[in-house]
Symmetry: C2
Subunit: 313 residues, 2 copies
């Protein structure tokens, strides 16, 4: 398969595991990389010291390339980047900020940069900043999300039109058919968060995984739009926010209800009532917890099977 994403990253299959808070430690990242995809360590929920430990463990667990995701709003992003440069990580996925800030510096250290976006404006900025590739993430994705609410089906062709950079599609993709749909639209790789958050190697709690594989359609919703749009399961905490939003509570009032540490409480500690349960819409399609290798192998088989059944008109 001639594919710019697989070549750029030096991986067998152009499948990336999103670097998710409280899910993406060294276990998940190394399992995905060992299975032929690219695993990412999610630094968003780590201190620089914890990240260093995860990187070193990941290096011992795989000989294949892996990366780190860095949300640029991380209060420790400078120290996080220092660890990444020291450890000579081959690729960094930056998100939640401008691609201008770190791209040049990382390139000087020989580190590839892939930036996560949700609109055309940032796709153009990515090209100006000289990033190596883009992840375009649609409205259906879990966790933090774009203000435009553009879905994957609409976003991918828009970004392909706006830039010639190699493109990884994210949001609502969890299967081989989904991967094929993304490729039909112009992507050359997929990033899956939800599917890998619900894998054996994800560090999310048993309680969180259990509730996620039992969701029905409509059980997640984009919430907290006055703060940062975030896709959440409609649990007790969500309902408090919804009720406050419906009666016009402002950003400060919502921040007070939110408090701090809610995503750890929900995803990692397993408080399924009062935690912030970040997961994508496609969770309602996922009913079992598989290993990362089973997930990736299954996707490749399904992609090929489905492609072989499609006929020209």
């Amino acid at each position: 398969m001639s594919n710019r994403i697989a070549s750029l990253l030096g991986i067998k299959y152009p499948i990336i595991a999103g670097g998710m808070v409280w899910c993406s430690g060294w276990k998940l990242a190394s399992a995905v990389s060992n299975a032929g995809g690219l695993g990412l360590i999610g630094s968003g929920s780590m201190s620089p010291e914890v990240l260093k430990e995860h990187i070193q463990k990941c290096k011992r667990a795989t000989n294949n390339p892996f990366g780190v995701n860095v949300p640029l709003i991380h209060h420790n992003s400078v120290q996080i980047m220092d660890v990444i440069m020291e450890e000579k990580i081959p690729v960094v996925f930056t998100s939640a900020g401008s691609p201008m800030i770190w791209t040049k510096k990382l390139h000087e250290k020989g580190i590839k940069v892939i930036h996560v976006i949700a609109n055309t404006k940032f796709a153009v900025k990515c090209e100006e900043a000289g990033v190596d590739a883009i992840v375009a993430e649609g409205f259906e994705a879990g966790g933090h999300n774009g203000k435009e609410e553009t879905t994957t089906m609409v976003l991918i062709p828009q970004i392909c039109k706006a830039t010639g950079l190699p493109l990884i599609a994210a949001g609502g993709i969890a299967t081989g058919k989904g991967m094929l749909a993304a490729f039909a639209l112009g992507a050359e790789g997929i990033q899956m968060g939800t599917r890998f958050a619900l894998s054996k190697e994800s560090s999310a709690s048993k309680e969180f995984k259990e509730i996620c594989i039992n969701l029905k359609d409509g059980d997640t919703m984009l919430s907290l739009k006055k703060i940062t749009p975030t896709r959440l399961i409609k649990n007790e905490f969500y309902k408090k926010i919804e009720e406050a939003e419906n009666r016009g509570v402002n950003k400060d009032g919502l921040l007070e209800i939110l408090g701090s540490g809610r995503s750890k409480r929900g995803i990692f500690d397993g408080d399924i009532k009062e935690g912030e349960l970040e997961i994508g819409q496609i969770s309602s399609f996922i009913n079992e917890i598989q290993s990362s290798k089973e997930i990736i192998d299954g996707i490749i088989v399904e992609y090929n099977d489905r492609l072989n059944t499609l006929k020209t008109i």
Copy 2:
């Protein structure tokens, strides 16, 4: 091409033009059917008398099958159905209501029934009601929309899992690549609203078409969620609603701001400031007004070209 949707409807290409208020009269319906797709007359903005006139004109303009879309909340739906049965329309697309209400009666008259849904629950109801096929419409679609906010990328595989009925995908599809993506996900047909609303034969006003082909991503938004979720362009009217929603105005207060006749005012009369401008997210990808024949021919070429470039992994 062996395809259940094309066979069911007796059409060359499994492409349906959505039956849109103020856009889908006999001109658009006959142009789409003449080009090998299935045109629908949108009865949602018609009296029974006006519908009868459009049906009769459409019959004179094409020898190919065409259908009528009936929103079941239409205050005249009984009289609308009477016209359809008298005129022996081959297929009815029902929406905004239960598929149980009309399916049996229409089948007795030899009329096929396709029901529009946005969630799994209604897909199961469709199977129980014995409809011939389903349109599953995602969050990115224009106009009235499901409460679950499930996107096309997530909805199509869910509905395929829930029912074996032939499935038409809608929402965010405007190109051959989009059609291929929908087919990769399991659909056997596509319904396009936005693309045909912005065709030469659409009866929407020049002003409405003009604003739509100049939109950028993020310029439409799902609004009026306390009444009926509706995707609108963010014009002056939208901003009034948004401002009221942000300060917690309830359903009655919003209905007062909405008033009546807003969609006619926006789409048909061309009041782009104060009208309700219903259009899908994919409008930001459409930059020209083509004929229905150019649209359909272009989609088939692009579908085949794209399919031929995809390789197994």
